[in-house]
């Protein structure tokens, strides 16, 4: 075994293994890189409003539902959505960001007063 072969086996092979592992680890993360929120950055996304699934949702594929899985697209329902026992205000706002099907637009109709409100507030 001459010098070149020695270097190839004892330095080249470990390096090759390391390179393959590094590729496997870092390539997927680099490919789907989404902007991560960091405190102090401005927030330039459209507002989204997520709501829970209705308890007695129709099965997927049947009837009108906003559930994830029933449709790949955030469907916008018209005036008739409120009568279907689904989410009540499915008529999403214009250009509502369809992040997942449970998001509804921030422009829901007719505010209802809910008596004395409680809650809390926090900053970070």
């Amino acid at each position: 075994m001459n010098v070149a072969e020695t270097i190839l086996v004892f330095a080249g092979a470990p390096l090759a293994v390391i390179a393959v592992l590094a590729l496997l680890i870092f390539l997927p993360a680099a490919r789907n890189r989404r902007p991560r929120y960091k405190p102090g950055q401005p927030w330039e996304h459209a507002p989204v409003w997520y709501e829970p699934h209705p308890e007695h949702a129709p099965e997927s594929g049947h009837g009108e539902t906003l559930a994830i899985g029933s449709s790949m697209y955030g469907e916008r329902h018209g005036e008739d959505a409120s009568g279907h026992g689904s989410t009540g205000h499915g008529s999403a706002g214009h250009g509502s960001a369809a992040h997942g099907a449970t998001s509804v637009g921030a422009t829901a109709p007719r505010p209802v007063t809910a008596g004395p409100l409680g809650g809390a507030r926090g900053t970070w």
């Binding site: 405190p39 409003w49 809650g119």
Partner: protein
């Protein structure tokens, strides 16, 4: 007569449907895994407690409390039982608004505790994790009313 190829995407929306998702660009706020976690947390805490938890993420304007209460009043058919978690990452503010019926089961002190744990996660940049932890605390505090038990 030849025409240039139309390369612009067509607006596929109708009166009843949104545009196809492929039309609105690849920029997504959360990954599908994060969305699924949010979705499950919202749905399960709402079912467990009988309250209606909703989550708003976006700018709240000033004053934030007024806008959050306005959103809460629009958050469903029965806002008295609704709980709104409004997060404004740009302003670094989180507001929890409870309706009058929800406030009996979720006192302000419990909300403040949940807000505290949320702000801890938000400060380290983990929006989804903070929201899910907050939802967990809120639903633990609100408990499971006996009227919801089916057996």
């Amino acid at each position: 007569m030849t025409r240039a190829l139309e390369v612009d995407s067509h607006d596929t929306s109708t009166a009843h449907t949104d545009a196809a998702r492929t039309d609105d660009g690849g920029e997504q706020l959360f990954s599908f895994q994060e969305l699924a976690r949010l979705d499950e947390a919202l749905t399960m805490s709402s079912r467990e407690t009988g309250l209606r938890f909703t989550l708003y993420i976006g700018d709240l304007g000033t004053p934030t409390r007024v806008r959050a209460e306005e959103l809460h009043s629009m958050s469903g058919r029965n806002p008295a039982e609704a709980v709104l978690i409004a997060v404004s990452p740009g302003q670094r503010v989180v507001e929890v608004v409870t309706g009058s019926a929800a406030a009996r089961r979720l006192p302000d002190r419990a909300c403040a505790l949940a807000v505290l744990s949320m702000t801890g996660s938000f400060a380290s940049g983990d929006l989804v994790g903070g929201v899910i932890n907050g939802l967990r605390q809120l639903s633990d505090q609100a408990g499971h009313p006996s009227g919801l038990r089916r057996h």
